[in-house]
């Protein structure tokens, strides 16, 4: 039994095994079929999806920032350059524990509270994802080395060699060249698609001055590269590269030496100087003092530094030559005189009797000339300009009327934007009936014309406008738009004539005569400023009130606080026979237009016409700096009690 059983079982076992093997084989083949199906599905059916996914994993597009265009002065000196700087940045998304990373970094490189403050400020701004946030600029060689050694521990920390904008002349060009700064949150929000692309590799943008105005040219065109990165985001190799196009350079009319001279002539006083090349409209010098160091803004200014600048009573951030609008005072008298000649309300021979006061017919209002007792009984135009006789121009303005005066003045760009190539210009006021109606909601009174005739009342002009006015005078009616830039991106920017009007040659000569008399005449208000000149020049002083003086009250300049003193203004051009340069000067609260502002204009013209530069390194710079602050006798000589002063 047992033997048979065993024998039978042996064959049965074999049969069972065969059957089971058949079943198993089918199962294995089926499962292998599943695998084949699965791999076929992934590799053939869904191939495109996964190939794309794989490329997206490894390939990233990196923008390559273009090199920002350089800015040169008229002699090829660099005013704005790009300096290589090693910057330590942190990519928030990769850094893991930020506090830990920062703490560790502080053991490697010096990171002060200021850096951290700026870092957190930028960190909390809106950024592109994975955009590195700079922590420290200008790493030293040693710091670079210690970072490189510890690189493996620094996930999310990047060191890149960036070009950082630098302004070698510092505050000398702060208000003209301006500065670049990091793209702010607001700017980023306002970017359109194309700007977003163009700035994808760039961290800074022009904020003020030429840097802002010519941003498009200076920026250049972003390039990009496709890079292969590994899973930890480290770049392995560059697959494809489109080079960036560097930004275009700017060549300016501005001259470092002229700028230095103007700055030295101001000698630390608050004010502004503008010098324009008459034939081209090119701005030779434009300074506003006090100034500031634009380099502070490039990598982000600290709160403390910014507060100091912003809250200073001297307002260094304020660009006086385009944003500062002051009553031009007597500086516009030549224009008013020319208007009288052109409209026939006066001529070179016509004289008036100046008793020292002027009264509108049928009114009680009395205007008092700055010179008590008047300028004599036979004051003609030449004398009126030379001695800055108010009465002559009150009378002339009154007879000419607001409409003629207003229309004529606008030919000189008064009350209009000069459209100079830096932003944030203020237009000032050159009033008209319509202006007063729309802005003040009042009708025009004859008294308004009286005030306007000597640059008071509603009239407000910026030093740039005064310079344009003077250049237009010098150019005999050709008003050229002032330009700081001569060539942008290698292209010459042709002077743009804004206005051209005809006035008889004799009329120009008459006005020029008067203005020359200001400088060279025995009774000219600014004769001291022209002493020893090797060329003839034309000028006109002006004084602008800061606070209005009630009728009849005595104006005691000594008693007024320093900041309530009159502003001193001066406009001039030279040489008289063939004008090359037109200058306007304002010294805030300096009082004497002729005595204070006049010499500044003279220094600037001497520099341009005779090469007498006041350069900071040279001892010649000293005289102006040493020139004493106006003493009491100077002030006393100019005492007056009238609305109109020279």
């Amino acid at each position: 039994m047992s033997e048979t059983q065993h024998f039978k079982d042996y064959h049965r076992e074999t049969r069972i095994f065969w059957a089971r093997l058949a079943v198993m084989s089918v199962l294995m083949l089926a499962l292998m079929g599943v695998l084949v199906y699965r791999y076929h599905h992934l590799q053939v059916v869904q191939y495109q999806d996964y190939a794309t996914q794989s490329d997206r994993n490894r390939i990233h597009v990196q923008p390559i920032p273009p090199t920002r265009g350089l800015i040169y002065d008229r002699n090829g000196l660099l005013l704005a350059e790009n300096r290589p700087s090693y910057t330590l940045s942190v990519v928030r998304e990769r850094a893991g524990d930020l506090e830990e990373t920062l703490k560790y970094l502080q053991t490697l490189v010096e990171i002060n509270a200021n850096d951290l403050e700026k870092f957190y400020k930028l960190m909390h701004q809106r950024r592109r994802p994975f955009e590195p946030v700079p922590l420290r600029y200008n790493l030293t060689e040693e710091e670079l080395a210690s970072l490189a050694v510890n690189e493996f521990r620094l996930e999310g920390v990047e060191i890149d060699a960036q070009l950082v904008r630098h302004y070698p002349y510092g505050e000398l060009f702060a208000h003209t060249v301006g500065y670049v700064g990091r793209i702010s949150e607001a700017e980023l929000t306002n970017f359109d698609e194309d700007q977003y692309r163009r700035y994808s590799g760039t961290h800074s943008i022009g904020k003020t001055g030429l840097e802002r105005y010519y941003e498009d040219i200076l920026l250049g065109e972003v390039g990009n590269q496709n890079v292969e990165t590994n899973a930890r985001g480290r770049v392995q190799r560059v697959l494809e590269r489109i080079d960036p196009k560097p930004g275009g350079d700017l060549h300016l009319y501005l001259d470092v030496r002229m700028q230095q001279t103007a700055m030295a002539a101001l000698a630390g006083r608050r004010g502004a100087v503008v010098a324009i090349e008459v034939k081209s409209g090119g701005v030779l010098a434009a300074v506003s003092t006090p100034s500031y160091d634009p380099n502070l803004f490039v990598t982000g200014i600290s709160f403390a530094d910014y507060r100091n600048l912003n809250e200073s009573i001297d307002m260094p951030l304020y660009n006086r030559f385009i944003q500062g609008v002051y009553p031009p005072g007597s500086t516009i008298k030549p224009v008013v005189g020319l208007a009288g000649l052109d409209t026939g309300f006066t001529d070179a021979r016509r004289t008036i009797n100046d008793p020292g006061t002027f009264r509108l017919p049928n009114t009680e209002w009395v205007w008092r000339d700055w010179k008590r007792g008047g300028h004599g009984s036979r004051v003609d135009l030449k004398q009126a300009i030379a001695e800055s006789c108010d009465t002559y121009f009150w009378d002339l303005g009154n007879r000419m009327g607001i409409d003629r005066l207003s229309e004529f003045g606008s030919h000189f760009g008064l009350g209009e934007l000069t459209r100079i190539d830096i932003p944030n210009e203020r237009r000032g006021v050159w009033p008209s009936r319509e202006w007063k109606r729309t802005v003040r909601g009042q009708g025009w009174y004859p008294g308004d014309t009286i005030n306007m005739s000597i640059g008071q009342g509603y009239v407000l002009t910026s030093p740039m406008q005064l310079a344009v006015m003077t250049a237009t005078l010098a150019h005999r009616g050709v008003r050229i738009r002032p330009q700081m830039t001569e060539r942008a991106n290698g292209k010459f920017l042709a002077p743009i004539i804004e206005d051209r009007f005809d006035v008889a040659e004799a009329h120009w000569d008459a006005v020029f005569d008067g203005m020359a008399e200001v400088m060279h005449g025995t009774r000219g208000t600014a004769r001291r400023a022209a002493q020893g000149a090797e060329y003839r020049m034309a000028g006109k002083s002006g004084t602008a009130q800061v606070v209005s003086i009630p009728q009849g009250a005595k104006y005691d300049s000594e008693a007024l606080k320093e900041r309530h003193r009159d502003h001193a203004l001066f406009v001039a051009f030279a040489p008289l026979e063939d004008p090359q340069i037109a200058v306007s000067v304002i010294l805030e609260n300096a009082e004497g237009g002729s005595s204070q502002a006049g010499p500044v204009a003279r220094i600037v013209m001497d520099a341009f016409l005779r090469g007498k530069y006041l350069l900071p390194e040279e001892p010649e710079a000293a005289p102006v700096a040493r020139q004493p602050v106006p003493g009491p006798q100077t002030l006393a000589r100019r005492m007056s009690d009238t609305d109109g002063v020279n």
Binding site: E13, R20, L21, V36, H40, L42, Q43, V44, E228
Partner: protein, 386 residues
Amino acid sequence: MSGRDFLRRLPRTGFGLGRREALQQRLHIDFLLLILLLVLTAIGMSVLYSASGESMVTMRRQGIFFVIAYVAMFAVAQVPVHFMRRMAPWAYFGGIILLILVLVIGVGAKGAQRWLSLGAFRFQPSEIMKLAMPLMIAAYLSKRFLPPSLKHVFFTLVLIGFPTALIIDQPDLGTSILVATSGMVVLFFAGLRWGYIFLAIVAFVASLWPVWHFMMHDYQRQRVLTLLNPEADRLGAGWNIIQSKTAIGSGGLSGKGWLEGTQSRLDFLPEGHTDFIIAVMAEEFGLLGVLTLLGIYLLVIIRGMMIALNAQDSFGRLLAASITFTFFVYVFVNMGMVSGLLPVVGVPLPLISQGGTAIVTLMAGFGILMAIATERKRVMRPQKNK
């Protein structure tokens, strides 16, 4: 009677005992299987070269393990099959003792305790169990009348269940699946009744719920959840599977080329040199490469099953079938999990993935197959003499 003899001789039909076979018998080597294994080794080394980032250190390590593994295979192949059968219980119970030792004094990594440390040398007792289990079950069942009675089925399940539980406890889900499978397969080939099989399937499905809630570790549950929806956690648990599918899919039909796989070489693919190495191969050699590899695996399996068919007795037959099928399970589970069909359990791709002891165990298993294949034909010879 002669018909049955014919059936038994069928696999050998057409072959005489030529010189080559005589050599095979003397050396206890199955040349065909050896060639297939060498081809797999060559493929494995070249894929690993790429997957390890051209690391010569890894290559030398793996090379040394292959040498050890081939030596182990030749050595095991010399062991007479009846001796293996006698030694099966010793191997099995020895393995159990070692598994218990692992739980008590083992060392581990990543929250799992899998190794025994013997001075400088560390090994996983669960690897021994991969061979001891089919040996033991085959030895046990081949002595019984087949198909096995309920009592023997029960004992068999106990024999399978105990070490499996010990390995799950380490925890090592992948190995426990392989060990349990190698035992269950013996039971299946021994003729386990279909009724039992059906009941077992029902019981398995019914047990899923308690297993899920009470027996699985969090990370195991996470793996299953990740399998079901890898997109839910792209950078965490889903990362591996998304990256491996991307690697496979981006390989396309013919692949990116050897050493050109961006997913693996740029470190997007984790575990590219161990469990996920098929993704590297699929990325670099494409579907054609995968099919080639699968084809070679299939040939190995066919050869293994032929050896099982030709085995001299039930023990050899069951053992050979179990080893061969377990090999298949390796392949299927690994390729299934890397391509997102199955949960990620730690099963290496046989002979391709880096990993020393697993390769030695696998090759020792092939040594057993070769021993069975070249066993002296005690039954056949009297018939021939007739």
